[in-house]
């Protein structure tokens, strides 16, 4: 039984890594907004979805003009990523301005309602625009990278199965890591990053230090949403097919990842996303083998949630979160 697990492990790790990278970048969006506003931005999953649709729309337009055939794929990717992230970034800022800012002093739960409302709205708006254009809201994006790669694990470790992946996997991982490192630099090394951290620590004091709090919150939303939108593009490239309801499930998983890593902590979100992605993939591939067919792959989400609950029970602030000392 263990041999079987080991044999497929390289492949499981590769698949888990690509799913985990997607979760991780979305989780960053949740965690940034949470860190600064203490708000669960439920609409973030929908921003990711909108990003996927915008990216696909750009790709389809390119195909329509026949540009894909003579433009280098990397250039196309960069253009799509840039345009999409700017548009979704603006969308995120807009949502914050309209739906969250007026409620900043209201109870947190009320903002939760608006977040749910915004996510319903976005789902439906994307749905009807797509349906109006395409006649069907399940969209398949054109492939810009194709090809397979094989990792000859068996030549080094005999008895273990080879793993294979698509070229897009490398791109997803590379872009995701690039974004995460970029964000890390931005938050830790730039003036705006410092402002964001200051506002997250203490909004009033930051305001006294002549930080424009509204602007900083806007920037946070822009960055978080831009990352979310860009992840949407990566997701489309990796899986090919999207619909307006993908944001919901992925959003929840990513949020779980953010909590697992310690909400408000950017590195925690990255780690949490990777862990959840890997665990899920591992559970789907091995649960039925390990339990002798009693529990199958359908229990993978249960498995992920149970691990989350267990982690939270023993380390309530998440894996990388700092325990909050409550002031009396």
């Amino acid at each position: 039984m263990l041999a079987q697990v080991l044999q497929t492990l390289p492949q499981v790790l590769i698949d888990g890594l690509s799913l985990g990278a997607v979760y991780a970048v979305i989780a960053i969006g949740y965690t940034m907004v949470y860190g600064i506003l203490e708000l669960i931005n439920f609409a973030h999953g929908e921003i990711f979805m909108t990003g996927a649709f915008i990216g696909t729309a750009i790709l389809l337009t390119f195909t329509g003009f026949g540009l894909l055939s003579f433009m280098p794929a990397i250039l196309v990717l960069v253009i799509v990523l840039l345009v999409t992230s700017i548009l979704t970034g603006l969308l995120g800022m807009g949502i914050e301005r309209i739906a969250y800012r007026p409620l900043r002093n209201a109870p947190k739960l009320i903002t939760l309602i608006t977040a749910i409302g915004v996510s319903f709205l976005l789902q439906d708006i994307v749905r009807f625009i797509t349906e109006l254009k395409q006649g069907n809201y399940i969209v398949t994006a054109p492939e810009i990278f194709s090809g397979q790669m094989k990792v000859k694990v068996s030549s080094i470790l005999p008895g273990i199965h080879d793993a294979s992946f698509k070229i897009t996997f490398l791109i997803v991982i590379a872009v995701a890591f690039f974004m995460m490192f970029g964000l890390n630099l931005f938050v830790n090394r730039t003036k705006y990053g410092m402002a964001i951290r200051a506002v997250a620590q203490d909004r009033e004091t930051a305001a006294l230090m002549s930080i424009n709090v509204n602007k900083v919150i806007s920037i946070t939303f822009f960055v978080g949403s831009a990352l979310g939108g860009a992840t949407g593009v990566l997701f489309t490239m990796q899986y090919g097919t999207i619909d307006p309801y993908i944001g919901f499930i992925l959003g929840i998983k990513a949020f779980t990842a953010a909590v697992l890593g310690g909400i408000g902590n950017i590195r925690g979100a990255m780690a949490g996303g990777m862990i959840i992605g890997m665990l899920e993939m591992f559970a789907a591939a091995n649960l039925s083998g390990l339990t002798g067919g009693i529990f199958g792959a359908e229990y993978k989400d249960v498995f992920a949630f149970i691990i989350l609950i267990v982690v939270l029970i023993f380390k309530p602030e998440g894996l990388f979160g700092k325990a909050i000392v409550e002031k009396v």
Binding site: L103, A106, L109, I113, V118, D124, R127, E298, I309, L312
Partner: protein, 434 residues
């Protein structure tokens, strides 16, 4: 003219007169019209008006029960749409009870629960499994399905089992706070749903995704209850008792303990409130209402499957609580009523009306924009608008007011004075938080 208007505005008798005429007109409208959703809604609205009337509480209760228990079914029974009104009313009742349950957890005790529908599912499956042949798959003795009379017992069993699950959820939850709690409860809700969806092997307990069909309807005095108007009375009785219980709980020792925990856990603990017990009771009592309604739901639908218990449903109940006014009992009732009616009746009717217009050629809309599909959109827009412009909910929670003179005159026992102190502290804390 101005005097007349003033007297209308401020005269109590004028109010009552207005109210009576209103009830009469709407019930007449409901009675004589074949199908008039509008008059049905307006008639329900009379309860809302009643709430604002300056009458004694007892009188209000009697009038309210009179309208809901007698006049409304009577007036509606004349039209063809009787059962469909009753159906909507039954669902309103089910959701009111659930929202009141969630209100205890979220509103009173301040524990954000995103997986509340799990308890509803537990209740529904408890009755569903034993009121069909399903139970014989894993219980070797006894004869299943149980007869329809067992429904009345199951109301309490459902209640108890759900409360048990509430405690079960509560135990791990005690260690986590705030938004961590939200995600744990969300996970719990999903776990329950997925497990119910998959528990057809190795032992077939829930029949998995196929769901449990042909559930025995409840029976009383040899009559099988299958129509919504019969369920209406069951639900009405349960909802009234739930309201009664919750109102009493809110003012009781445990209710005050919940609010104290909500406002400041550490301070509450310092005052000698047992945190564990207080939180667990909130979960258990909140869950039990849900479980009871789950039993009613299973019996009414005669079918349960896991698709009725998704995360969206939990969000829906949460929205009811927040829309009506978190922590406020009349608010939560109103919120549950509005969301349910909107979802089940108004939007459907509106859609059909618009659809009729577009097929008769008055105006046409592209298919993608057809209003049938815009329910999410409308719902989302309403949520945002309400939150932006009435963020404390439709009927915000108020703390009970006490007459200072009476208190000093010593007419209230010592016990009550503590209450006041507590309430004052709360309002101070609440004021700061806002």
């Amino acid at each position: 003219m101005k005097i007349l208007l003033n007297s209308l505005l401020y005269h109590k008798k004028a109010h009552i007169l207005f109210f009576l005429t209103y009830v009469l007109v709407t019930s007449a409208g409901l009675y004589f019209a074949e199908t008039s959703v509008l008059s049905f809604l307006l008639m329900l609205f009379s309860i809302f008006i009643l709430y604002f009337l300056k009458l004694k509480d007892k009188v209000k209760w009697i009038i309210g029960i009179g309208i809901l228990g007698g006049l409304l079914p009577l007036a509606a029974s004349h039209g063809a749409a009787y059962q469909s009104y009753m159906e909507v009313a039954v669902f309103v009742g089910i959701y009111v009870a659930m929202a009141l349950g969630l209100n205890i957890v979220v509103g009173f005790a301040g524990l954000l629960d995103l997986g509340f529908v799990a308890f509803f599912a537990v209740g529904a499956y408890t009755y569903g499994i034993f009121a069909t042949a399903q139970a014989s798959h894993f219980i070797p003795f006894g004869k299943f399905p149980l007869s329809g009379e067992s429904f009345w017992v199951f109301l309490f069993i459902g209640c108890f089992v759900a409360a048990l699950f509430g405690v079960l959820l509560g135990i791990p939850v005690l260690r986590v706070k705030g938004d961590y709690l939200a995600i744990v409860t969300l996970g719990f809700g999903e776990i329950i749903r997925i497990v119910f969806n998959n528990l057809d092997k190795p032992v077939n307990i829930t029949n998995g995704a196929m769901g449990i069909s042909s559930i025995t309807p409840p029976k009383i005095f040899g009559i099988s209850l299958i129509y919504p108007n019969q369920f209406y009375y069951i639900v009405l009785v349960i909802v009234l008792s739930v309201i009664f219980i919750v109102r009493n709980l809110e003012q009781s020792k445990i209710g005050r303990a919940w609010k104290a925990v909500r406002e400041n856990e550490i301070a509450a603990q310092a005052m000698g409130i047992p945190l564990v017990k207080t939180k667990l009771t909130a979960f258990a009592i909140g869950a039990s209402f849900s479980g009871m309604m789950g039993v009613v739901f299973a019996a009414k639908q005669t079918f349960v499957d896991p698709t009725s218990f998704t995360l969206l449903e939990s969000t829906n109940i949460l929205v009811m609580v927040l829309l009506g006014g978190i922590g406020s009992i009349p608010g939560v009732i109103l919120g549950a009523a509005i969301v349910t009616i909107l979802n089940l009746q108004v939007l459907t009717e509106l859609t059909n009306w618009l659809n009729g217009l577009s097929t008769s050629g008055i105006f046409s809309i592209p298919d993608a924009l057809s209003p049938v599909k815009m329910q999410r959109f409308i719902f989302g827009a309403l949520l945002i608008l309400f939150a932006l412009f009435r963020s404390k909910g439709l009927l915000p929670a108020k703390n009970r007011k006490y007459d200072a003179e009476k208190l000093t005159a010593g007419e209230v026992s010592n016990n009550r004075i503590v209450v006041v102190a507590n309430e004052k502290m709360e309002s101070l804390n609440g004021g700061q938080e806002a």
